[in-house]
């Protein structure tokens, strides 16, 4: 039996009230709030967060493959899944691939992972979906879109969600796209889009139900991608699901449309509530439609210690206004800076990849002291070159000291310098993100998060920062 054995999700800390967007543009508000990734986040960093949430309690050595899906991959012509695999400190002898160019990319990656496990080429494949779409300022999409990510572990043992049946169709229908040099999204008249969307989803789901002999009444939950709340509600009705009891909330009111991560995130939200024996109908849309019939097993109870959707929804900070959003997305031409630009070195990044991306420190074989960054001479006992590499990215720590630099050359000030002492040893001289400058305290609990530091020398320079622990109730 092949299916989902673990799940995880990520929603950025920051939310922007849609009233703030409409206030700025002097338009009417669609109400609610949308998730906004921080200035140092992108689809890849959010994907790392979801992956790590999904791998809570899972031995990372057991992962045989990684598929990363996003319509907003940080690089063209360079894979992002491989960077995600490094940040997740996965094995090197695994296969990785990016899935992109479609709202259905998350579902396509999931399907490919299931095929890989079914075909016996892998035991466990991690599937991550993440999107950070930047719509045109003032457009309807600006209020509608949100940022987020989801992750699943697909395997054939300890399956928590079994895939009973599935059916797919492909379609050359165009609903949202970009030309090669476009900054923002293009679309067509909304009534036309809604009409064809409805036809495609209806055809796929009806065929699947017809072939499998299930009826809408047989399902505990129906999880559909929908482009907007109105269209989403309409399709549920047309397919014969009860909007009150059966239809999974599409996250519009508190997160927004997270692109190819939306349907996967909705599945995570559904699984957080699911019990053994529940049946879930899942339909992911984009350039066609994938529909699945999912059955929840007893194993679901072992996949509870996740921040997931619920935990991340509760852990939030409201942005004070639209200006913060503009800054986070770096959407303006800013005041010219006389200071020299950020620079990087690919040679150095490559040389030190284990301590930069994988965030491995060293443990002295003589005295056991954990140290970061890597040393030749042990900082404690002065033994030479006698270390084991240890993963530090999953360590929690305590803020030993901090300062708030108002003059650093970063997009969002103050730049909070943080000295972090890890549980179990080791100290990290770091920068703190997702922080409230008014609520910093020596001794506060912190954890690590994978972020983009700068784009100097034409490279997305990813590295680890610390942040106040989110979702403290989840281990």
């Amino acid at each position: 039996m092949v299916g989902i054995t673990s799940y995880g999700a990520y929603i950025p800390l920051y939310r922007l009230s849609r009233d703030e967007i409409s206030r700025f543009w002097d338009t009417s508000s669609i109400k609610g709030e949308r998730a906004v990734s921080n200035f140092d986040e992108d689809s890849l960093t959010m994907g790392v967060e979801a992956a790590i949430d999904c791998l809570n309690g899972v031995d990372r050595e057991l992962i045989d493959g990684l598929y990363f899906s996003s319509t907003t991959l940080p690089y063209n012509g360079k894979e992002s899944a491989s960077i995600l695999a490094a940040a997740g400190d996965l094995r090197r002898d695994i296969f990785t691939a990016d899935f992109s160019s479609s709202l259905r990319a998350g579902s396509s990656a999931l399907r490919a992972a299931m095929s890989a496990v079914k075909g016996g080429v892998a035991k466990r494949v991690l599937v991550v979906s993440s999107d950070c779409r930047v719509p045109a300022p003032g457009s309807e999409h600006e209020s509608l879109f949100g940022d987020g990510a989801a992750a699943f572990l697909v395997g054939d043992a300890d399956v928590a969600v079994a895939v009973e049946e599935s059916y797919s169709i492909t379609s050359d229908f165009m609903d949202i796209w970009k030309l090669e040099n476009d900054t923002y999204y293009r679309t067509w008249e909304d009534r036309f889009i809604q009409s064809v969307y409805t036809q495609i989803v209806k055809e796929t789901v009806s065929t699947l139900l017809g072939e499998s002999g299930y009826t809408p009444r047989d399902f505990t939950k129906a999880v559909f991608y929908g482009p907007d709340p109105r269209t989403h509600a309409a399709i549920a009705r047309e397919l014969g699901f009860d909007p009150k009891t059966q239809v999974q909330d599409p996250l519009f009111s508190l997160v927004g449309n997270t692109g190819c991560a939306l349907a996967p995130m909705m599945i995570v939200a559904a699984l957080e509530e699911a019990r053994a024996g529940d049946m879930i109908l899942f339909a992911s849309y984009g350039d066609g439609c994938d529909a699945y019939i999912l059955r929840v097993t007893d194993e679901i109870e072992k996949v509870r210690a996740r921040r997931g959707i619920r935990g991340h929804l509760e852990s939030k900070a409201m942005l004070p206004g639209y200006g913060s959003y503009l800054r986070f997305r770096n959407m303006m031409e800013w005041e010219y800076d006389l200071r020299p630009p950020d620079t990087s070195s690919l040679n150095l990044l490559w040389r030190e990849r284990n301590q930069l991306l994988r965030f491995r420190g060293q443990k002295c074989r003589c005295c056991g002291t954990i140290q970061y960054p890597k040393q030749y001479v042990c900082v404690q006992c002065q033994a030479k070159g006698d270390f084991d590499e240890v993963r530090l990215s999953d360590k929690k720590g305590e803020l030993f000291s901090y300062s708030m630099d108002e003059r650093a050359k970063v997009l969002v000030l103050p730049n909070v310098l943080a000295i972090v002492d890890f549980e179990g040893g080791g100290r990290f001289s770091s920068v703190m993100t997702d922080r409230d400058p008014k609520n910093l305290k020596v001794g506060m609990p912190v954890e690590l998060t994978f972020r983009k530091i700068h784009d100097g020398s034409g490279i997305h320079n990813y590295y680890w920062k610390c942040r106040p622990v989110r979702c403290q109730e989840v281990a």
Partner: protein, 396 residues
């Protein structure tokens, strides 16, 4: 191992105007400081047998050979981050003590204010360049020193207001002293209220907790003590030079507390031993210490053993470090108000000692009464990773 005590004499010193010197370049600063030092010693440049220049960035011996027209003598450029000035003095002192040379020139110089922005540019990075870990654009000197202020407040149970007030009093004193020193960069008194309410540079440090970003140079002429009287009667001798470069593990080891300067303690022990100083607070008449930030002065004074750990606040509140106090600290105005041209600061601190001990402070109002021994402290890097020099000088 022999002590350097009283082996080397300073027979002439010079110091350029410090400040944002828009109309002076590095050559002008070298010339201003060196000409004054030569005149002070009564020496012709042709008599100089070797020279050392302390400066950061892309410099060489040519940095002083060209403007001074040195004629093919050995010139060495040294650098040890913000502790560069002393490194020049120390190496020159060893050159004459070893009798390889009889008369040498030391110049510390920095021209910072040609960049178009405040603070130090990336060429002033003191650690291994890294685009992510400790990247120059996000990890700044005020940001790093402020970590020590936060930790000092936490360790000694000071509220942010109490902590900022304590540090603010140091800056008020520094500005008071700088205002009375004609060659200082920042010659303006400030009130405690101004200091604590100033814009934040790196919390908890505000504008007035931070030193000036300054152009300037200082120079010295050194010879062996036995030949010093040829040049002048009131020469000054080096009593001890300690230098300590830490392995930089304070940001790696969890047992480093950020509230003391380990390298300063090591360097001070060396200098005190050579100079025979047992009780620095009693035996020293004044000290110039590396106060690039207010918190830097506070911790330096504690780490130099001039004040017990955790007792700085009591000293500051009682005025012990003022001109009239028990031990004047940074009577010149310090790096804070006199200014901090990186490579020049160590030499400039010695200049203050030299003039005070000779009784030749520019204004009699800022002249101490018969000081005999002074201490200068100069360090580069930032908390957890320092290179430090401590030098005791006094009457022979």
């Amino acid at each position: 191992m022999e002590s350097i005590k009283d082996k080397v004499a300073i027979v002439g010193m010079g110091c350029s105007q410090f400040g944002e010197l828009w109309d002076k370049d590095v050559d002008d600063l070298v010339i201003d400081a060196t000409e004054e030092a030569l005149a002070d010693a009564g020496v012709d440049i042709k008599d100089i047998q070797a020279a050392w220049v302390g400066s950061m960035g892309r410099k060489t011996g040519g940095t002083i050979a060209s403007p001074l027209g040195l004629q093919y003598i050995p010139v060495t450029r040294v650098e040890n981050a913000c502790a560069t000035g002393y490194e020049a003095i120390r190496n020159a002192a060893f050159g004459v003590a070893a009798k390889v040379y009889d008369l040498v020139l030391v110049v510390g110089v920095e021209k910072i204010k040609d960049t178009g922005y405040g603070g130090l540019g990336p060429e002033y990075r003191a650690v291994k360049w890294h685009p992510l870990y400790e990247s120059g654009n996000t990890i700044t000197p005020p940001g790093m020193y402020a970590l020590s202020a936060t930790r000092y407040f936490a360790r000694y149970g000071l509220s942010p207001d109490e902590g900022k007030t304590m540090l603010g009093k140091i800056s008020v004193k520094s500005h008071h002293n700088g205002a009375r020193n004609p060659r200082a960069h920042l010659r303006r008194e400030v009130t405690l209220e101004q200091v604590v309410n100033a814009p934040i540079i790196a919390w908890p440090l505000g504008l007035y907790d931070c030193c000036g970003v300054t152009d300037g140079a200082a120079a010295a002429i050194l010879c062996r003590t036995e030949g010093a009287r040829k040049f002048r009667d009131d020469y000054i001798t080096i009593k001890g030079i300690g230098v300590s470069v830490g392995p930089g593990t304070g940001r790696i080891r969890t047992d480093y507390d950020f509230t003391h300067w380990e390298e300063t303690e090591y360097a001070a022990r060396q200098a005190y031993e050579q100079a025979g100083i047992k009780n620095p607070r009693k035996e020293l008449d004044l000290a110039e210490c590396h106060d690039c930030f207010s918190i830097a002065e506070l911790i330096a004074v504690e780490s130099l053993g001039i004040c017990e750990k955790g007792q700085a606040k009591a000293d500051i509140d009682s005025g012990a470090w003022t001109q009239e106090g028990e031990i004047p600290i940074n009577l010149s105005g310090g790096l804070k108000s006199f200014g901090h041209p990186i490579g020049a600061s160590g030499c400039r601190e010695v200049y203050e000692m030299y003039k005070q001990i000779q009784g030749k402070a520019e204004y009699s109002s800022r002249q101490l009464k018969n000081p005999k021994m002074g201490l200068a402290h100069n360090q580069g890097g930032s908390p957890g990773r320092f290179q430090c020099a401590v030098c005791a000088i006094g009457i022979p």
